[in-house]
């Protein structure tokens, strides 16, 4: 089946495209500045003027949700890409060189996978939360946790491919280890790595929101969906829209990437689950 004919990929593709557009065009789409405080307009219900209402400081929730797309996608994509690089390097080195190197690196992989996911992210993010590098802390915490699955995947892939004849031929021609890995081995793993990357985006975005919901991660007034839900929750009775809309945006984003990842997995027929335990509790 052609990828774009798959209903999941179509639906996921539409959602993700809209989100990327929202992130790129945020300053032009939002009618107000995300941090413009107007105390006389606090807790206004959704209206023509404020589509998603206003929050406890009279800020426009719609503008904040649109700007929040940048944080969510930005952190998700960069944490995932950083994790991809770490996983790629560890997996390749482990599978290619084998022996003691492999043994030691694999123990690190085991250890990372043995931790409950969110808990490990929390314990790393706590340290950064008191510095001004709050978002950097989230990025480091997420990528420090989300590389192990790919490292294991790449290791097994490399172990298979490195025995192939064309790799032996390349070596006979005097190609260096680095060249063999980059030109001949890594390109065979594009598909599983791509699916790994996409499936985990949803997880990374959810974890970022979870962290800022807990008060770690992005600090106010940064419009992160998780902290918007957190600060809106005490006013659930009088102003449910303050936490409803950022949560809906978050759920839609996660759904979009899940659809895309599942669709890709279906079409490319890879039987493998990217789920890590304890991710959303």
């Amino acid at each position: 089946m052609k990828p774009w004919r798959h209903p999941y990929i179509r639906a996921g593709g539409v959602i993700v495209t809209l989100l990327v557009l929202a992130a790129l065009l945020a300053p032009w789409i939002s009618p107000f500045a995300p941090d413009a405080i107007r105390l006389e307009e606090r807790y206004q219900p959704p209206s023509w003027n404020h589509w998603f209402g206003t929050d406890e400081m009279g800020r426009d929730v719609f503008s904040r949700v649109v700007h929040g797309t940048r944080i969510s996608l930005g952190i998700g994509v960069s944490a995932r890409t950083l994790g991809l690089l770490i996983g790629l390097v560890v997996g390749c080195v482990s599978g290619y060189y084998g022996g003691k190197t492999d043994l030691i690196l694999q123990r690190f992989v085991d250890m990372t996978l043995a931790f409950p996911f969110l808990l490990l992210v929390i314990s790393i993010a706590v340290i950064f939360s008191e510095t001004e590098h709050d978002l950097l802390g989230v990025l480091i915490a997420l990528s420090a946790v989300m590389w192990a699955g790919l490292a294991r995947l790449m290791r097994s892939q490399v172990m298979v491919v490195k025995e192939r004849d064309y790799v032996a031929a390349a070596r006979a021609f005097g190609a260096s280890d680095f060249r063999i890995l980059v030109r001949h081995i890594i390109p065979t793993s594009y598909v599983p790595a791509l699916i790994w990357w996409t499936m985990g985006l949803a997880q990374a975005i959810m974890a970022e929101a979870g962290l800022s919901f807990l008060g770690l991660g992005a600090q106010p007034p940064t419009p992160s969906w998780g902290s918007m839900i957190n600060y809106g929750s005490p006013a659930l009775r009088v102003a449910p829209w303050v936490s409803f809309f950022p949560g809906a945006a978050l759920a839609l984003t996660v759904l979009g990437f899940n659809l895309l990842g599942e669709g890709l997995r279906d079409v490319l027929d890879v039987r493998w689950s990217g789920r890590q335990a304890g991710e959303g509790t």
Binding site: R107, D110, M111, A114, F115, P116, F117, L118, L119, I122, S123, I124, V126, I127, S129, E130, A202, M206, A209, G210, F213, L214, G215, L216, G226, I229, S233, L236, R237, P240, S243, F244, G247, A248, L250, A251, V254, L255, N258, L259, E262, R275, A277, G278, E279, G280, T281
Partner: protein, 309 residues
């Protein structure tokens, strides 16, 4: 199998050591004087000295690590900066609440998830199947803390069927909303897993044999298919239960549930590092232990698994 389990248990040792090492260094990276924070502002010089000695804060880092290891093995996880009580005592006090929530969530997930999965598998490609699978994808994509707030808004603020949060007198009515919120992701995963597993088993030759030998529909499904299809499902149940026990942090925060997860959130807000690290360590031990039990259960359920490798 005994050898396999023994090997798995031995394998836990380096992992646990890694966990302890990480929590130790995370604790040492924390700003401020830990002895002063543990003893409180009004502590006397003698009290401060005693704590410094007990936890080795005046020693070089490596010695401190040794003392920390020894203390952890004895169950001494330090003293809370906030309540000035032993961390281990607080953990044991809070854990039963987390256990109760986890059990509630799992019960909801097992009943609804397996029922939805079975229904889907027995009527594949009908509208029931499609609706169940769409809901399952929605369930996986909904963040637990947002779902919690939605449930709270509709079922306790609007309809007033359940209390909005807290533990109250411990009656089950306080448990319903948090358990549903926490269990939803598992409902979704269990439904998909049960469906996939059942569909796979239903196409097996031995089931056709059973049918041709005259076994009735319910017997085939219940005795032959379900018994085999349930095995991978049990693994999911076990793993999810392990992650519930190791911190339903977000859910407990939303519903002000007085478990260990909420305690961890409060400790994070107050930067109570001994509690943060002690709780993380405790959660990891529980997580790893439950995983081991799941492994063992897997072998009991499926005699084909012998764990020779």
């Amino acid at each position: 199998m005994g050898v396999y389990l023994l090997r798995r248990m031995l394998w836990m040792v380096p992992v646990l050591l890694g966990v302890v090492t990480i929590t130790f260094f995370l604790g040492r990276l924390a700003p401020g004087d830990p002895a002063l924070a543990m003893a409180g502002q009004r502590a006397s010089q003698a009290q401060l000295e005693r704590i410094r000695q007990q936890y080795g804060f005046d020693q070089p880092l490596l010695v401190q690590y040794g003392i920390y290891l020894k203390n952890v093995l004895r169950g001494d996880l330090g003293i809370s900066y906030d309540s000035h009580r032993p961390v281990a005592e607080v953990i044991l006090e809070r854990f039963p609440y987390t256990l109760r929530l986890a059990a509630g969530a799992m019960a909801v997930a097992v009943v609804l998830g397996i029922a939805a999965g079975l229904l889907s598998a027995l009527m594949p490609n009908t509208w029931i199947d499609r609706v169940a699978m769409v809901f399952s994808l929605l369930g996986i994509s909904t963040p637990v803390f947002w779902l919690g707030l939605l449930l709270m808004y509709f079922f306790s603020i609007q309809l007033q069927w359940f209390p909005p949060s807290g533990y109250g007198d411990g009656s089950w009515i306080y448990l319903v909303l948090p358990a549903v919120a926490l269990g939803t992701q598992s409902i979704a995963f269990l439904a998909r897993m049960t469906r996939a597993s059942m569909l796979e088993v239903l196409n097996e030759d031995y089931l056709r044999t059973a049918r041709t030998k005259g076994a009735g529909g319910l017997c085939v499904i219940g005795k032959h298919a379900f018994a085999n299809a349930i095995i991978p499902v049990v693994t999911i149940i076990g793993l999810d239960f392990a992650s519930y026990l190791s911190g339903s942090v977000l859910t407990e925060k939303v519903f002000s549930w007085p478990g260990l997860g909420r305690h961890l959130v409060i400790a994070i807000e107050q930067r109570d590092y001994p509690v943060i690290n002690g709780t993380v360590l405790f959660f990891c031990v529980i997580f790893i232990a439950v995983n081991l039990i799941v492994d063992w259960l897997y072998a009991v359920l499926d005699p084909r698994i012998r764990y020779e490798t």
